[in-house]
């Protein structure tokens, strides 16, 4: 705790060196195991496909995926598809975050409002929003706006509830402290509730981003001219499962990267603020 690592760096004892080596060895082992599993899986897949143990036409194979990737790249459409899906996801995510925050603040502000709306929130929360897909296009029309609406539908309520829970978990005593200074409700919001909820806000973002991806893919299934979801639909329409698998691989990488981005932000904020 109060140790200054910089000062002690030179003076590591033999035991400590051994401990550090042990930690390092374990870390390496884990890293090797992780990559090992990945490589083994890919190799097995490739092998199984090339020896026809499994049908590469159906299950595809790493080399076929690479090939598809390459041809998409040389056609110049790869980045367009990724870009469109990313754009929709980010718009949905940002809108969801902003609207979610606003709604959560409103519900925090008025206890009466929040109690009145409670049953509606439960229904909206538990309803599988996917079911609304078919009527959504009727109402919103087929276009990017429908995709983004789908995304919002899927992500908004979860985000609002996560954020509101965060607000309500802020220690009553911190709020009391502000009240002893005669703070207004707005000041309590600004000076305690919001800053104290930063960690829970970020963990809502982690859920929100996942939901946004789901929303965009569902949206693109319903209506789209381009994007990764479109590629999946198109690929299965013309039965190019390589294209489907390739899109899924890209999708999983993109989604994982975004999630990790927010997780990184989270660790940074928590480290920074020691909240």
């Amino acid at each position: 705790m109060s140790l200054n690592p910089a000062l002690e760096k030179k003076a590591y004892s033999k035991e400590h060196q051994a401990f550090l080596n042990g930690v390092l060895r374990r870390k390496r082992l884990i890293s090797v195991a992780r990559w090992g599993i990945l490589i083994a899986l890919l190799a097995l897949w490739e092998l199984a496909a090339s020896l026809n143990w499994i049908d590469p036409f159906i299950i595809s194979s790493p080399s076929r995926i690479l090939g598809t990737l390459q041809s998409l790249w040389s056609e110049g459409t790869l980045l367009t598809h990724i870009g469109i899906t990313l754009y929709e996801t980010i718009v949905g995510f940002v809108l969801g975050t902003v609207l979610g925050l606003g709604l959560a603040i409103a519900l925090w502000w008025s206890d009466t409002l929040s109690r009145i709306l409670d049953p509606y929130l439960v229904v909206l929360n538990s309803l599988p929003k996917i079911a609304l897909g078919p009527i959504l296009i009727v109402w919103i029309g087929a276009g990017t706006s429908a995709i983004i609406t789908m995304t919002l539908l899927i992500s908004l309520i979860v985000t609002v509830m996560g954020m509101l829970n965060g607000f309500l978990e802020v220690s009553k005593e911190k709020v009391l402290l502000l009240k002893t200074f005669g703070a207004t409700k707005y000041q309590i919001l600004r000076k305690v509730i919001l800053p104290a909820s930063v960690p829970s806000l970020i963990s809502s973002l982690k859920i929100n981003i996942g939901m946004s991806w789901v929303g965009v893919i569902v949206g693109e299934y319903l209506v789209s001219k381009a994007g990764l979801g479109y590629l999946i639909v198109y690929g299965s329409q013309v039965f190019k499962l390589d294209l489907v698998m390739t899109s899924i691989v890209i999708l999983s990488i993109a989604a994982a990267l975004m999630y990790e981005g927010i997780a990184l932000l989270e660790r940074h904020v928590i480290k920074q603020g020691k909240l």
Binding site: E173, T180, G182, K191, V192, K274
Partner: protein, 258 residues
């Protein structure tokens, strides 16, 4: 004793209403706190001590009776009263300086003089070099001192301390209460301290108010006169009369473990 009392508890009663029933917390309590005085309040757990302080701070309205501060009836929190809670509740996302200025910020009194005064307090009580640190970098005792300075920064006439030291470990607690009592006497503040620790109550206060178990009634008020070499609580604990007071109050409280 002095001229006009600074705080007057006048025939205070308090009944809490909840769905599961009503709780009679305080029953017709009256006492005064004079300018410059240090009053301790002791009483069994849950008897209504915090309730009394909350009413003085304007956070609660008594069901009956009234609390007056500086002759005016308390309606809502004002900068006349500084309230210090059990935990320091420093905000982890603010530096020590920003934490200290919190009250002024809320009360929209961030004038250069006030900021100056807060800086001077930090300086006087050995925290100037930590002004740009974050709370987690400070020890428990230092944090509690910062919390006190945050309260002093709004320049209250009276300080209310609700078990302000009980979150600290024993040795730190002795040292911190010593220091904080020094600061309070130094700044010539009036203070009311709620505590469970009888020794702490006696060693810090000019008077000790003993409350009955719930509903809190006034049982006794002890005027503490100790022949000690200094005002420091640690010194005062060594006074010969100390044990006398302790035994009397201990008996008065009649602690029985349920």
């Amino acid at each position: 004793m002095h001229e006009k009392p600074l705080v007057e508890f006048q025939n205070i009663s308090m009944i809490y209403h909840t769905l599961s029933g009503e709780t009679h917390a305080v029953d017709r309590v009256s006492f005064d706190v004079h300018d410059g005085e240090f009053v301790s309040i002791v009483g069994p757990s849950g008897c209504g001590k915090s309730t009394l302080l909350s009413m003085a701070a304007g956070l609660l309205k008594p069901s009956n009776g009234s609390v007056k501060v500086l002759g005016r009836e308390v309606e809502c929190p004002t900068s006349d009263v500084g309230y210090m809670l059990q935990k320091d509740h420093l905000f982890g996302w603010r530096t020590i300086r920003q934490n200290v200025l919190l009250g002024l910020e809320v009360q929209k009194k961030l004038t250069p003089e006030n900021i100056d005064k807060a800086e001077r307090l930090l300086d006087t009580y050995g925290l100037a070099e930590f002004a740009d640190h974050y709370p987690h970098q400070l020890s428990g005792g230092m944090r509690q001192r910062v919390a006190l300075i945050r309260t002093l920064a709004i320049n209250p006439s009276i300080l209310l301390l609700d078990e302000a030291f009980s979150a600290l470990d024993y040795q730190t607690r002795l040292a911190v209460s010593d220091e904080i009592s020094g600061i309070i006497r130094n700044e010539k503040k009036t203070a009311v301290l709620v505590t469970h620790d009888i020794s702490e109550a006696i060693s810090m206060a000019d008077r000790v108010v003993v409350l009955s178990k719930r509903p809190a009634r006034l049982k006794e008020i002890y005027d503490i006169r100790l022949t000690a070499s200094s005002e420091s609580p640690i010194e005062r604990r060594k006074a010969p009369e100390f044990k006398e007071y302790f035994n009397q109050i201990w008996k008065e409280l009649d602690v029985h473990v349920a």
